[in-house]
Amino acid sequence: MGFRVGSDWRAPIAELERLYAGYPQPEDGIPDFTVRLFAARPWRRWLRPAVTLGGDFVLPDAAPLPLAQGLLAAEMAMNLQMALGQRRYLLLHASAVERDGCAVLMTGLSGAGKSTLAALLGARGWRLMGDEFALVDPATGLVHAFPRLVSLKNAAIDVVRAALPEARFGPLLAGTPKGDIRHLVPDAEAVARMAEPAQPALILFPRFGFDAAERGLGPSEVFVRLTQASTNYVALGERGFEAMTRLVREVPARAIDYPDADSAIAQVETLWSAL
């Protein structure tokens, strides 16, 4: 997946170039989506500058962000293109990590910890495939990588920085609608291998802030939860149905509750070795 980002201000572009340095250019020089960061009124370029999200696909009436959070605006706008415009792959709102050609998909509500867990697993020998979207190819059932900047919030920022002392991070963005945000740059391996898909082997529904617990889910429950976690399931028609049906019938699924990151990591490793 490739993006083109246009902007009325230089700063967000400079930050994107810095943090995505080392990423391949869009294939054939033709990006899949266009994103625009623009000033809705001419004076908004300079007077309390506010970035409105634009591009091929937009949400009307979306509130602009202050220019200081321009990087966040760019990331949100790219997410929006995927959420509204992705038609090649079945899109799941999930993080994904890979080991030995097989992938764990972690999905859930905001705050469930899917980005944080993906980042931490990435520090323990797993390859990060993505923290926001998992792309499932309807033809093959494989999950494709989409490793963009990992969005970490509030307390998770320090947890991940401690676990990944060598990693590159974006600036601290304080006071966003979701609190403090910092972006983690995926490591060299994640970037180098982003064209390698993986076989989904485990679907997890993590829930943060509870005593450690785990239960299996039947396929129909997984179907309901995964379709809720997909923005393009309906738009894909029968291809989406086949992709989702295959996932829920073939891939084991577990709901895990966890009180802290270490507990979650342990549960993931245990479940993985039991496969």
Binding site: G218, P219, S220, F223, E238, F241, T245, V248
Partner: protein, 91 residues
């Protein structure tokens, strides 16, 4: 007054995938997916053999599938849903 007949839609209109207690159905004319449970899959199976009136359906559901709490009202409600979504046709 002739009783209303219910019939199956053409076979290629539906893609049916049984899961567990629930069955997934992709309805090709609309592109919509439906997650259904008893007695809907059983109704579809019975109608595949030919159209039936409501009374006949109720009788056969009782005979073949031992469905608990079978009543005309419940069957009416299910049939109404199936017709509204296009999974079954009403003559």
């Amino acid at each position: 007054m002739a009783e209303r007949l219910y019939r199956a839609v053409p076979a290629d209109a539906l893609r049916i995938v049984p899961l567990d207690d629930f069955t997934l159905i992709f309805h090709r004319p609309s592109g919509l997916s439906h997650l259904v449970t008893a007695p809907a899959p059983e109704i579809l199976e019975l109608l595949e053999q030919g159209p039936l009136t409501r009374a006949a359906l109720l009788a056969r559901l009782g005979e073949r599938f031992e469905l608990a709490d079978a009543s005309v009202e419940a069957l009416d409600a299910r049939l109404g849903e199936l017709v509204a979504t296009g999974l079954v046709e009403a003559a």
